[in-house]
Each structure stands twice: as C-alpha cells, then as structure tokens.
C-alpha cells in the first residue's frame, strides 16, 4: 500500500493541532479527576473517591439534578419562543427575511457579559420589565421575583441562548423545498395541516440541533447563575467553579466536570441518533 502512507501522514498532520488543543487538556483534566487534593497539594493516586463522594452526597446530586431540570426548562422555553420566531422569519419574503435573520443573529456578535448586565438591569427592581408591567397595570408595584432566583436564571439563559435555537430551526425550515408546500396545498391541505404534517416533521432535525445547543450551553454556564441567580439560583456549574476557586479542590471539580461532560456527550449522541433516524 504505497499510497496510504502519505495519506495517513497528511491526516495526522491535519489532526495534530486539534488533538493537541482539545484532547490533551481534556485528558489532563480527566486524569486530574482521578487524583485527590490534600492541603492544596494534588496527589495523583488514581482513585475514584471523587466520583464516589459526588454520587454519595445528596446536596451535590440534587444540585446536579436541579441543574439538569433547569436546562430542560431552558430548552423548552427557548423552543416555545424560538420556533415561532424561526417560522415567522422563514415565512417572510426576500429582503425582509434576511433583515430579520440578521437581527436574530445579532446577539451572537455581542459580548456575553454585556448581554448579562443588560438583562440584569432589565429584570431588576427598577428595570424595564417591572416598569412595563407596572405602567400596564399588571403589577401594582415593582416586583423582585424577576431577579436573583432560579427563575431569573431561566429567563436570562433563554434569552441569551435563543439565537442558537432560532438559527438551526430556520435552516431546517429553509431546506424544505417550496414544492412540498405546494404539493400539500394542491392535495387539499389547509395551512394548519401543511404545517403539522409536512413543515413540522421536516424541521425536527434543526429543532433537535437547536435544543441540543441550548441544553449543552446552559449546562456548562456558571456565570449566568452567579450574576442573576442569587442564593436560590445555584447550579452545578457554580459548584464546579467554586471547587476550582474557593475550595481549591481541583480533582473534585474535575470529577464533577467529567460527569457533566459525560451527560452532554450522551445527549449529543442520542440526539444525533434520533435525528439521523429520520428520513429527511
């Protein structure tokens, strides 16, 4: 096989950089998760005790499960809000649809921290949300329910990750040939039937992708809970962060991060499998 040699070389050369910058840090932190910390010293004794103490401690475990639940809520909410937006943009014609698409994608070009501060000021006691609700007469006086709790984390994450949901859904809608919609109408279907039986099923892959983006991003987010979560908005991301920071127990943090990674990978594989099973 004289020709496979060089090919392998090229592949190896191309793969070397990503391997170096992704796999090596990943490997090192997986190795770290098997170590343990003692008086700010990391001792590599290849133990599973970090994992055992995580799974054996209900406080950690319930925070973890609570975070998973929160991420599911973020996914659900961003789909409820994002799908109609994507659909609406898709229904527009020519320049209008691309203008709207640009607007939908615009937050992606803004700094994450700027968005966070903006949302925090909007959700606050004298923020836009309260002002609007009071002036509309829905609330009698400004409420504190929008900030420094789990709900605030949910709202903020949904807003921040919305573009990641809208764009893949729009793309999958965009891939549906117009002739399919004509065919559906031609056969006697009204708008709702066409949506339910043709548009919705064919946009499932993009919807799965969008949901996955929102879930994985929300799962790893430790800054949003810190900024708007207050004391009740505690997530596993914050716990991991505190292990690396305050507690200085890097191995334990690494173990929890490894579990988080595992969950995310499992989800990506499942979703990828679900999407590939569809014939579109």
């Amino acid at each position: 096989m004289p020709r496979t040699g060089p090919r392998w070389l090229i592949f190896a050369a191309v793969a070397a950089l990503p391997a170096l910058v992704i796999l090596v840090p990943l490997g090192s932190f997986l190795a770290m998760s098997l170590a343990h910390a003692e008086k700010h010293q990391i001792i590599y004794d290849w133990t599973l005790r970090n994992y055992a103490s995580f799974l054996g401690n209900w406080t950690y475990l319930s925070t973890f499960l609570g975070t998973l639940w929160l991420c599911l809520e973020v996914v659900l909410l961003s789909l409820i809000v994002g799908y109609p937006i994507a659909w609406y943009i898709w229904r527009q014609k020519s320049w209008k649809r691309y203008a709207l698409l640009q607007i939908a994608a615009l937050p992606l070009f803004m700094s994450y921290i700027v968005k966070l501060y903006t949302l925090r000021s909007m959700l606050g006691l004298n923020g836009l949300v309260n002002q609007a609700l009071v002036s509309l007469g829905i609330l009698e006086q400004p409420s504190q329910v929008f900030l420094y709790n789990q709900r605030a984390v949910l709202i903020t994450m949904t807003v921040i990750y919305l573009p990641y949901v809208v764009l893949p859904i729009f793309l999958s809608l965009e891939r549906i040939p117009r002739s399919l919609l004509h065919a559906s109408t031609d056969l006697g279907a009204g708008g709702w039937d066409t949506f339910r039986r043709v548009v919705l099923p064919l946009s499932v892959p993009g919807t799965i992708a969008g949901a996955l983006f929102a879930f994985v991003l929300a799962l790893g987010d430790f800054i949003t809970p810190q900024m708007v979560g207050g004391t009740t908005g505690f997530t596993i991301g914050r716990v991991i962060f505190s292990q690396f920071g305050l507690a200085f127990d890097w191995p334990f943090g690494a173990a929890m991060a490894a579990i988080l990674l595992l969950v995310a990978l499992l989800l990506i594989v499942t979703a990828g499998y679900a999407a590939s099973r569809r014939r579109v």
Partner: protein
C-alpha cells in the same frame, strides 16, 4: 367544455407573461401545452392549479368561475416537475395524503390508496420511502398521489424532464395508458415536441405567451399554420418564396406545387414547408435538383443532407425509409428530389 380560460392575463413584474390567453379544454382529453422555455406554458398550468393569481380574465370550470378559488379547494391535482414527494412519508402515506387532509372516510381512503397503488404498479413498494425508490418509481408515486383523490383534472408540469431517454419513453406510454384507464382530463406541460406528439389528443403550441396553434398532433405535424409551428416539429424543410397562385410558390428552386394555401393571397411572402420524409428521389410534379452532401444511416431511416443546385445556400433534409436492398445515392452525386404536392404546405413568412 369542462375547463375554460377566458382572456387570462398574467404579469410578473415588468414582464407580461400572458397578454390574453384563451383556451377550452374538453372533458377527459389529454391536452399538452407545448412551447420553448419562457413561452408561458407553465404559467398557464400554475393559473389553472391556483398557484398563481390571474391579473385579468377568468378561469371557468364546469361553468363556474374559479379564478379566485384557492388551490386547496380546486378539484385538480398536480404532478410536479421535481415530484415533490414528502420525504418523511412512505409510498402509501404519500399516496394517502390527499384523502387524509380532505378528511375522507378512512376505510374508503384505504381502498382508494390500494387501488391507486395497484394502477401505478407500486403495491409491493408501499412501505418504502421516496429515497429508496428509482426515478421512475418516484414518478409513479407522484402520479398516484395526484390521481388518488379522483380529481377532475390532473396537471402535469414537465414530469418526465428528469428521466433518461429510455425511461422517459416507457413513462410516456404509461402516462397515456393511465389516462385512458381513469378517463381524467390531463393537462400536460412540456418543451419536448416528440413527447407532445406521442401522448396528446390535442396540443397547444405556445410562443411568447400566445397561443400559436391548437390542434391534434397530426394537424400540427402536417398542417402547421405559422412559421413557428412549421419550424418547431422535427427538421422541416422550409423554402422561402412568393405565392404565385393558390397552388404554386415561386422559389429559388423554381415553381413548386403546394396543397391548399388558405387565407393567403397570391403575391404573399411565404415559406413552403415539406417534411424530410415526404421528399423522395425521382421526378414528378415537383423536381428539385440537388447534390448529396452527407449520408447518415439511422436504422429505420437513412438521412440525406443535400444542397440545392440552383440555390446553393439552401440545404435540404431527406429521410428515406431504410431497406437493405435500397439504392442509396453517394456523397457528391447529383439527384432529383420530388414530393407529392399534398404533402407541402405554406405558412406566412
């Protein structure tokens, strides 16, 4: 008349695609809209189907005005150019889509689907997905989906364009047979004149948004009335000249006889059209001296390309029925061509 277009007008932006188009389509006929791209044939189909709104005129179906009726309410179904099959549905689900969204009775719908799949010969493929089918099979699914609801009219938008030549001929025959079997009006759009001739009861030749000529395939083939139609079917020999009397045309090749020349006064500039297969070697009422330039053996017929002796710029195309023993002239040989005057027509130049 079952379907009628009355002075229908359609404008796309600054372009008037159909200035004023009228057509009557009879019940149960196979009517083909034939024309080059941009002739407006697909626009006519879209107007009938309800996918484009007319800017003027009226469309009538069984006497009722359906000009403004939405597409999903019209009793017509379409076979789309790219088939437009639903990729996430099986063959049976695709075929059953119409009855499903029209809320037909379920047992009746199932029977309709079974019967239709039987007609198009896809019974054993009913649980396959479109991606698992060949081009011809997809074509059949598209047809099944369109005929299952027993529409009054089926609209076909160049449905065979994507198929290769062999499959295409097979599907032409199949479409024609299906149409005869279910006795539904077919309105078929194509730019392929062979396809139009083989399948249609009547053909509408369209050019630049206008109806150029309407007639049976034989009419259009043998009795073109315009220069466009005369030039559109096959490799007609077109010889320019002046009509000197109703039965003769003065041409660079001499005075040539023609059949009737309705509506044309002597002195009119005309084109004499004579089919390659109507020309033969020999002497007769018409006699054209020519030199053989090229001989192409084509199986059933042999094609001769000749240059007229008295007008060297004029090239002639002759089709001779092949016969193993037939004497075929050689390249460079001088021959005399003749034809039966009944086979020659004149059209305005």
């Amino acid at each position: 008349m079952s379907l009628e277009l009355r002075n229908v007008r359609k404008i796309y932006g600054p372009i008037e695609v159909l200035p004023s188009f009228s057509l009557e389509i009879a019940d149960g006929e196979f009517l083909t809209l034939l024309g080059p791209s941009g002739s407006g044939k697909t626009t006519v189909l879209r107007l009938i189907g309800g996918f484009a709104a007319a800017d003027g005129g009226a469309i009538l179906f069984e006497g009722a005005d359906i000009t403004r009726m939405p597409a999903n309410k019209r009793p017509f179904n379409t076979v789309f150019q790219d088939y437009a099959l639903f990729p996430h549905m099986t063959v049976a689900q695709n075929a059953g889509y119409g009855p499903l969204v029209q809320r037909r009775d379920r047992t009746r719908a199932k029977k309709l689907v079974d019967e239709t799949l039987e007609i198009v010969g896809l019974t054993e493929f009913r649980d396959r997905y479109p991606a698992q089918l060949s081009g011809g099979q997809r074509q059949r699914v598209a047809l099944a989906r369109a005929i299952v609801c027993e529409p009054k009219v089926i609209l076909l938008d160049e449905p065979l364009a994507a198929l290769d030549a062999g499959l295409r001929r097979q599907m032409q025959l199949f479409l024609k047979q299906t149409q005869r079997r279910i006795r539904t009006t077919f309105v078929f759009v194509t730019h392929d004149q062979d396809e139009a001739i083989t399948m249609s009861d009547r053909i509408v030749v369209m050019n630049q948004g206008r109806l150029e000529q309407l007639g049976t395939p034989k009419d259009l083939y043998y009795r073109p009335r315009t220069r466009f139609v005369a030039g559109f079917f096959g490799d007609n020999n077109l010889i320019g000249g002046t009509l000197s009397n109703p039965a003769q045309v003065a041409t660079p090749l001499g005075l040539l006889p023609v059949a009737a020349s309705e509506g044309l006064a002597p002195g009119a500039e005309v084109l004499l059209a004579v089919r390659p297969e109507a020309l033969r070697l020999g002497d007769g009422a018409a006699a054209i001296a020519a030199e053989v330039e090229e001989i192409v053996f084509g199986g059933a017929s042999t094609r001769l390309l000749l240059r007229a002796s008295s007008a060297p710029q004029l090239r002639l195309d002759v089709r001779l029925a092949s016969d193993f023993r037939a004497r075929i002239p050689e390249v460079g040989q001088q021959v005399t061509l003749t034809y039966d005057p009944a086979d020659a027509v004149v059209v305005p130049a």
